[in-house]
Symmetry: C2
Subunit: 405 residues, 2 copies
Amino acid sequence: MSNNAGPVRHARMRERNLGVVLAEVVRHQPVTRARLADLTGFTKTTVSNLLAVLADAGLVRDGGLVHEGERGRPGVAVSVDGDGTAGLGLEINVDYLAACVIDLGRRVRHRHLVAADNRGRSAEAVIEALARLAEQALASATEQGLIVAGAVVALPGLLDRERGLLRRAPNLGWTDAPAGDLLRAGLPPLRLPADQDNEANLAALGELWFGAGRQLGDFVHVSGEIGIGAGIVVDGQVFRGAHGYAGELGHFVVEPGGALCACGGRGCLEQTAGQEAILRAAGLTELTATSAAGTDGSLSALITLLEAGDARALAAVTRAGEALGSTLASVVNLLDPDTVVLGGIFSPLAPWARPAVERALAEGSGTLRGSVPPVVVSGLAGGAAVLGAAGLVLDRIVADPALLL
Amino acid sequence: MSNNAGPVRHARMRERNLGVVLAEVVRHQPVTRARLADLTGFTKTTVSNLLAVLADAGLVRDGGLVHEGERGRPGVAVSVDGDGTAGLGLEINVDYLAACVIDLGRRVRHRHLVAADNRGRSAEAVIEALARLAEQALASATEQGLIVAGAVVALPGLLDRERGLLRRAPNLGWTDAPAGDLLRAGLPPLRLPADQDNEANLAALGELWFGAGRQLGDFVHVSGEIGIGAGIVVDGQVFRGAHGYAGELGHFVVEPGGALCACGGRGCLEQTAGQEAILRAAGLTELTATSAAGTDGSLSALITLLEAGDARALAAVTRAGEALGSTLASVVNLLDPDTVVLGGIFSPLAPWARPAVERALAEGSGTLRGSVPPVVVSGLAGGAAVLGAAGLVLDRIVADPALLL
DNA sequence: CATCATTCGTCCATAATCTGGACTAATAAA
DNA sequence: TTTATTAGTCCAGATTATGGACGAATGATG
């Protein structure tokens, strides 16, 4: 029957407990040993011992004094050491590359995004360019006295995480690209092995840790850039499915027999609600992504049109919102999330798209359950995935500090 | 950040390890201490100590001798004690009530199903009838020398597991029925608290432990009786969603503006692929369920028609299969299961429905991922949920034997 | 200003649990 | 009969959390 816990020896017990204490320090930032004992259920002695190990590893440090009660001896403030360990987040997307460094205290220490049309280029060339971005990020980190413990790359496609393979990325035109190996070769070795994950999954985690998801535990995050994916977060963890392909919203069939998609199917959601489809429907011939750094130029052109009240643009966005909303209705019926978060391009487009999304969502779901989950707009927009990637490195450390000795 | 593991004290360490050893005994049935040491990674000493505790609790026992290698002293065969602890499974469905008792060795010791149209009846009355069924089951168990440790009830609707409330069961016509309290009152107190779960979730678990799912770890199980639900199993665990409503397939909209559903919506899958809808489309006026014990009489009438090659019946089943298949395509895109299992009424109907299901499934999914998950037919058909309910009791014990001292 | 109650953190003896090597038992092969 | 091999137990040792005692630091009280 089901049993996911392996044998627990003394060493493993301690490793877990280190994680428990560190997680509590992260959650309650300047906190005394006595309060940590309350929070965790350990004795003060045990808390002190565990903290000593964490301090040796450079993960926490004592700050000033804190007075919690009215009388009594003040406690020593224990905080996360934000000047020691950091995580490196990287992202390859269809029209840009990105890198960021975040320290254990969750401050963004470095962030860099370069527009680049990666559609035609080979995986080797793109990863080479990403490696240069990573080098800059690492240099910036060491300059600030940080030690980068690990890296995670966000990729827009289906990937085989075990073998480090990007199996299919229809929007990049890549098939079976050995992204993992290439990246490992391009990067200096870090303490933790470089890992990769789906862009949509990491965007959802970015939202969870740095955006609207902070208060949420269970939600679905729609991350639409060129493609459309969903990151499903349940109880603070990403739901990946059997092969890691869960949440592939972009290729839901919303219009049987509709436009041909890069994936080979017809009438996929991306062909109605993807960035290019929206721009085309709005009458904006697509410009090359390099025309603007950071955000895509044509997207801001679309927003200008929308702000001016252009009917054709509004119709395109409304139609996209409806298609997305009815797809999300299926998601809600199946996964029962607490909240739906609109990210990616849907975040800036929300003022115009959201009503349509909510309408279609309410129509297709909620009849049985009684309530429709609220639709929230991400404040991070396109930047969520890199942040999530860097955050994932830190999350792993917090969950199991023993990874760093 | 995410950390689901609480503090680990010595006692908790031992409890987990008891579960690890017991799970390995269950998996490899007659097994020696030495091999258990290999399997778990513990020393032989530790295995012996843990087994002593499990034996005291009546969960395992020593059998004869086993010779594993070519030479050397033979080992003592340790097996699960199938004559001690058992689990009670109960089920309330629209047209029947069921109960079963399964021992730790996974043998079904008692099984009883009574046809009963529960549609008009009050929750109190139905639960009263179920309690009588449970009493018979308990009597049968004690007669066989078994101690029933706990019970789980399968219910066809959305439920609030924490408050023990059946929130909505459109096919029964119940709203906010305090099923949990009623049941606890009707049953003698057991060692573990009586619990309840969705019929679809438990059917999936039944399939996992007693049916086609044995070899599978990740699958989606469609359990269609009157309503249509899906149980999502990931890594041997049911995926429930934020509020426990995940997998509600029956109210996917497959025909916008279609027939009115009991849930209040229009064009729900149940209105096309539900048992009553199929029978109606096949020209069979629905008979009362009490006309046959065990299986629904009209369903076997439908099968007779199908076997005779009746065109109208075939068209009805094909249409249902197509609707189900296109809904399953969404499921596959979102959840990425390894396999799709057809259970409930779709199990006997599979010879006629399966091609349509597979066609629609292949059409809507698989374009991106390259492969469509295989569609497997359950051998348990309607009985899966009760089995899963009883199995869940046993699964909890195996995962944490400390529950029984 | 001295005293007291209170709270914080550490020290130390104790208890629980797993490990690892030594030892006995039982079997097949030589 | 002897030897090699494997199974299971025993016992000392190591690791880790516990719990009470104790000193330290602070506000309240008189």
